[in-house]
């Protein structure tokens, strides 16, 4: 494990309890996300991609095993500590953008900085710079309802990067976009990942996205079956 490893999962397992039936979602997951890396988690629907992403993003807890993010084991953290931890170290991009509809693009990007209690002057500078970087400086005053799907996702990318997190997680970020816009979003994410030196982890079964990744983690029936790094391939199961 490298000292600046953003995420390390050891023997992680997660089971959902649906009524009286136990449905195993993840089993024996061992994974290391490398820093400044563009990592895609791929698999069929119901394979456990989102569950894995939720565990990495510290919005869910494993039934067993250890999740270490930014060098800290999340198991012993209280809910409030985990919230603060996410505010400091994580950025999220959602399939449905999940922007707050009552806030403008500017305010949506600013919101994580408010949670992190960043002073007003720094906030303004950071928000304007990010909106400029995603090409939406002229749309700062628009509410999400006044933006296209691609523009909303670009605001979401800017929001995810607002607090300069170590890790950005994206759950199927191009699923609700047409292929052209999706490709543009992937390109933007890639660009931002390089410029901001941040690890991007996202789930997708889009081959175009997988081709762009530094690392592709393939998952099936809750188990990692393959990890591809650049051109090398490591078969685990």
């Amino acid at each position: 494990m490298q000292p600046d490893t953003p995420v390390l999962l050891k023997q992680v397992g997660k089971t959902y309890h649906l009524d009286s039936v136990d449905v195993p979602a993840l089993s024996d997951i061992n994974l290391e996300i490398r820093p400044n890396c563009f990592t895609v988690i791929s698999g069929a629907s119901g394979s456990g991609k989102t569950t894995l992403l939720n565990l990495i993003g510290c919005i869910d807890r494993p039934d067993h095993g250890e999740v270490i993010v930014a060098g800290q084991a999340i198991r012993k953290m209280s809910d409030d500590e985990l919230s603060d931890f996410r505010a400091r170290h994580m950025g999220f991009i959602f399939q449905n953008f999940n922007l707050l509809p009552v806030l403008t693009a500017y305010e949506n990007v600013e919101y994580p900085l408010l949670l992190a209690k960043v002073p007003a002057a720094q906030r303004r500078e950071r928000v304007l710079s990010l909106l400029d970087a995603v090409g939406l400086a002229d749309r700062a005053g628009n509410q999400p309802g006044q933006l296209s799907g691609g523009q909303r996702q670009r605001v979401a990318i800017a929001r995810a990067l607002a607090t300069a997190p170590k890790l950005v997680l994206a759950d199927e970020p191009t699923a609700n976009l047409d292929s052209q816009t999706g490709a543009a979003i992937i390109a933007l994410m890639r660009k931002m990942q390089r410029e901001h030196h941040v690890a991007f982890v996202f789930s997708s079964h889009d081959p175009q996205v997988q081709a762009e990744a530094d690392e592709a983690v393939f998952i099936r029936d809750g188990r990692i079956v393959n990890i591809e790094r650049h051109e090398e391939s490591e078969v685990l199961a």
Binding site: N54, G57, I59, D60, D79, D80, S83, D84, F85, R86, A87, R88, M90, F92, F94, N96, N98, L100, P101, V102, L103, E107, E110, Y111, P112, L114, L115, A116, R159
Partner: protein
């Protein structure tokens, strides 16, 4: 973007629902305040009526309140002019005082012997000039036009009586009293129909001819201070309704000098009470303290005490308590409606914004932050609802007050314009507004708490 501003924008998101909730709160707040204002009207109306008649405070023999009723002679205040002078000249009391006047309670039997009827009466002797001045007291600005008492400018032997007394004494016709039914003829004694015709005719001739009488002179018999009966001839100038039938049936009002002659004869005249009217009701505690000090130092030879108008008129306190209870009941009812209305609105908002809650939590907002956000929305609903409710109540009360509606408040005998006191009633307004805001916050607490406890991944999955 602070929490309050975010909460406000969230409320504006579903304008129709927020407006409906606000409307319920506005109606609720208005209803509470208008009833509160009406209740104040009754309180102030009763207080004004009492203070105009009997003053704020009365100096009495300390046992008169409990034992003196009907035995005025035994509980008279000697040298009452000296006490009144001292009170009027006292540097503490003088600035508070508007009127200090003696009264004497009298009771006895009033008879219209021409008509062969009599009845027991109770009432008082007073200084009419002072009483007329007392009737000018109007600290709550009722739209009243006080008329001078009927005894104003009349001779010492003049008196006024209640309508019921006039009816029994068969003076209605002489005094031009409207709606005063004539007493029914007494039943003939059983068997008298069987008397011989000549005897029956003689009997009829012996009956007094009541219909022919048209005088307003009566005689009043009372027990004097020495226990002997004393009688005075009185000229009835008017029969007045007293507002309460029991009082109507026994009231008599005299000039103080006449009442004193009746009770004390040629002896030293006394008074059973010295009525003190203050500029403002709130001055009662200070005036009372000073009076007690004066009485205990300068008039300690007499066992005197001070009673306030609320003690002397138990109906006043009972009425206030009754309206207080009704007000509390209405406030509770409306509070419950607001509680469920706001609670329902917030619950719907939580369901609609489940994904948003998951997003905020994922971004790092603590559970407490989510709770605060929804409670802020409840708080804002409460504040806006209370503010608009107060404005609406003030406006409605002004419209009602200008509408010219009249009613007869308790203790009054004439109709007065209906006045709803909302504007200026700081305690009522602030208390109702704070109550409504607290109810709104309380009703938002449960949905807010539920929102804060959502599992993030479940919230994000919500469709």
């Amino acid at each position: 973007m602070n929490t309050i501003l975010l909460a406000l924008r969230n409320l504006l998101r579903n304008r129709r629902r927020s407006l409906t909730t606000l409307l319920a709160m506005i109606i609720g707040a208005s209803a509470i305040l208008l009833f509160g204002g009406y209740s104040r009207n009754i309180t102030y109306g009763m207080q004004t009526g009492i203070v105009q008649r009997t003053g704020h405070l009365q100096i009495q023999h300390k046992d008169f309140y409990l034992y003196g009723n009907g035995n005025a002679a035994a509980y008279g205040i000697a040298n009452y002019p000296d006490i009144i002078d001292k009170v009027k000249q006292d540097p503490v009391l003088a600035p508070m005082l508007t009127v200090a006047t003696p009264t004497l309670q009298v009771s006895g039997i009033a008879g219209n012997f021409d008509a062969g009827v009599s009845r027991t009466v109770i009432g008082g002797g007073s200084v009419i000039v002072d009483q007329n001045r007392m009737r000018l007291w109007n600290d709550y600005h009722f739209p009243l036009k006080p008329q001078p008492l009927a005894l104003t400018g009349t001779s010492e032997d003049s008196a006024v009586i209640g309508i019921g007394v006039a009816r029994v004494l068969q003076l209605c016709e002489s005094l031009n009293v409207a709606n005063c039914p004539q007493a029914p003829e007494k039943q003939e004694v059983a068997g008298s129909r069987n008397a011989p015709d000549d005897i029956a005719l003689l009997s009829a001739l012996e009956k007094p001819d009541r219909s022919a009488k048209n005088g307003t002179r009566i005689e009043m018999l009372a027990a004097s201070v020495h226990g002997a009966p004393n009688m005075a001839g009185l000229n009835i100038v008017k029969a007045e309704t007293q507002g309460i039938k029991e009082l109507d049936d026994m009231y008599i009002g005299l000039h103080l000098a006449q009442a004193q002659k009746l009770i004390y004869g040629s002896g030293d005249p006394k008074a059973t009470a010295i009525a003190l009217q203050l500029r403002h009701t709130r001055q009662i505690p200070a005036a009372r303290a000073r009076l007690e000090q004066l009485l205990s130092t300068q008039f300690k030879n007499q066992a005197l005490g001070v009673q306030d108008f609320a003690k002397l008129n138990p109906l006043y306190g009972q009425s206030i308590a009754m309206f207080g209870t009704i007000f509390s009941f209405i406030a509770l009812l409306i509070g419950s409606i607001v509680l469920f209305t706001v609670g329902n609105t917030m619950s719907m908002a939580v369901v609609e914004r489940t994904v948003e809650i998951g997003t905020l939590r994922a971004m790092g907002l603590r559970r407490g932050g989510i709770r605060l956000l929804f409670m802020c929305e409840g708080f804002l609903l409460g504040v806006i609802g209370a503010a608009l409710g107060v404005a609406s109540a003030v406006l409605l009360s002004a419209l009602i007050n200008q509408s010219g509606l009249t009613w007869i408040p308790p203790g009054y005998v004439v109709a007065v314009p209906l006045n709803i006191y909302v504007w200026g009633e700081t305690t009522l307004i602030v208390g109702s507004a704070i109550g409504l805001i607290l109810v709104a916050i309380l009703s938002a607490w449960w949905p807010a708490n539920r929102a804060s406890k959502m599992v993030i991944v479940d919230a994000l999955r919500h469709v």
